[in-house]
Symmetry: C2
DNA sequence: CTGAAAGCGCTTACAG
DNA sequence: CTGAAAGCGCTTACAG
């Protein structure tokens, strides 16, 4: 037995299919309608177990309580400690709270325009990933398809929910400066992304503020921590991305050099280390809240409450500082010894 | 400028809209068609930058390429070590491979018929969970809606992909018997489910085969391990469910009794302990493969390749034995000492 | 108050 | 070979 259509309900209730549509749609246009008729239609729908076809609904109007989730990696990460997993949890909870179902767009090999187009069966779509091919997304944006990026974007008119890395990163450097550090290195991965640019900007802002010249080192190789210490460096700040490459590199180098943290060297991470070690000084990215906020924004975009270029469509959530124990006052003895 | 549609291409190429559809669809039905016409249409489409509307395509072609995933818990578990997480990974990968998108039905309310009915927006649906309210699912089954349970079901005509707990559990007991154990206890949780029944059956089958009377103990309280050992029990087999209640209870009891495993007592788990400790004797449930197989089966059901009551619609996947080190020969000294 | 009609952008028979 | 038509299941004007 095929699933029931509105026409089936209409037949059963003795009304027209259009009337069924009006009733089931909650009579948004405020048509006058006999209560009896309304109840009769509702009862028939219940009896038949009616469920609207999302595709037809979407074609005829533009609303099916379906939100897309497009990830540029697997949605269910094999590595469950994956950095965007908590975001997904927030997304799911908020979607559930707002009565929206989620469509996972996965299996995308080339993330080209044709691939991204599939998202249009949803009312709007969330995009995940450090790198999102802007040109592939452009057609969607141009057509006014509601979408929200997780993570800040440079492109104007593109809504996003990100983390305020500038402020959080600056705070980390200010703390080091406050402890007396003057020779600080910032190690970041060569990979370019808005979130990386923001962290670097925060570091440089705080350095300039203190009249310091923090050396920014880009590398995907081993970190020359030992040499830095010999040169008088007392603190190292490390970028944290979803691969943790830079942080892991520094941690290894520190171990191999036999350095004691924070005695010989203060170490801070711009984010949280992969094992979420609270002993490491850094900050927490509000991933869960980002997920929730992104869904709320997307729904507001879909319903037209918010427009893509309004300020509300560009949100940066504050990060929570993690004091840790990997940062201390600079070891003057060390410094003089070099 | 609005997006071009097939009718725009048709106008430009001087053909009908239907012809455009045929050409762009790759002429699946193998209609005869002038190559010149084909090229003209293609050129026009290219010139206008045509992009098919996925919603209209799906409506017209009568299938959504949408597979439902209905979980009776959160889809993105807060506890990422959750036992069905690997299944989800398999589901996602196979869905991706088959070009199917996934709709997550969440919202965790009462799982009644009305709630489950929402799944019908998908072409078919996967159901997760130890307990699935059979009566709520019945209407879907009756309507011929394609669905697949994860885990064996008793209800005839309901497709499932589960694990072969009978065989795997029997193998565990046979191994103990082979090592010389004669006094064996089986501890299981009181909770009833097909997967629990299968494990118990495997245990009892192997026991009968060996002419032994394995005592089956149902409890959700502390396990009286110490007393068992005093009574001459040399091996304990424990059920493993998604809560791990029984296993954790036994482990605690063994520790408190100061027993040494496997010296004083052999310990085997019918599954894998929560921390996936390979030192514990048991077996691995092929969760990842179950996820993949379930999606394949669901797609076959949707396309009609397989019918719900055929043997192929009821699959039990083999579990992989985990030898472990928690099982050894019975300690005769202990036995005599009591 | 309710029905008939048009149309969303496609696919798929079915006539020529 | 190609066009005209019907129809996928809905929503939204527009007549009564």
């Amino acid at each position: 037995m095929p699933r029931p259509r509105q026409s089936d309900i209409a037949k059963l209730a003795g009304v027209s299919q259009a009337t069924v549509s009006v009733v089931l749609g909650g009579n948004r246009s405020g048509l006058r309608m006999a209560e009896r008729t309304r109840l009769r239609v509702l009862a028939a729908a219940e009896q038949l177990g009616y469920v609207p076809d999302p595709v037809a609904t979407r074609l005829a109007s533009r609303h099916n309580s379906l939100l897309g989730v497009y990830t540029f990696k697997r949605t269910f990460p094999t590595n469950v400690a994956d950095s965007y997993y908590p975001i997904l949890v927030g997304v799911e909870e908020e979607a559930a709270a707002l009565g929206q179902d989620l469509v996972l767009f996965t299996g995308a090999r080339d993330h080209d325009a044709a691939e991204l187009r599939r998202t249009r069966i949803a009312d709007g779509c969330l995009f995940f990933g450090r790198h999102v091919p802007a040109d592939a997304v452009a057609p969607l944006v141009a057509d006014g398809f509601p979408l929200v990026y997780i993570g800040r974007r440079d492109e104007p008119g593109i809504p996003y929910v990100g983390a305020d890395y500038v402020t959080a990163s600056a705070a980390v450097v200010r703390r080091l400066v406050g402890l007396g550090h003057r020779e600080i290195r910032y190690l970041r991965e060569p990979d370019e992304a808005p979130s990386s640019a923001d962290r670097e900007r925060g570091v440089l802002d705080a350095a300039r503020e203190a009249g310091l010249d923090v050396g920014v080192v880009r590398t995907d190789g081993p970190a020359p921590v030992r040499r830095w210490v010999e040169q008088g460096v007392t603190a190292v700040v490390v970028e944290e991305t979803d691969t943790s490459a830079a942080y892991l590199s520094v941690r290894r180098a520190v171990e191999q050099a036999g350095l004691s943290v924070p005695h010989d060297l203060s170490l801070a991470v711009l984010g949280q280390p992969p094992d979420e070690d609270p002993a490491v000084t850094g900050f927490q990215v509000p991933r869960y809240e980002m997920g929730r906020a992104a869904v709320r924004l997307l729904v507001d975009l879909v319903t037209g409450v918010v427009t893509p270029d309004s300020p509300q469509a560009h949100r940066l959530l504050p990060c929570t500082p993690v004091p840790g124990r990997s940062v201390g006052a600079p070891n003057t003895a060390n410094r003089q010894g070099t």
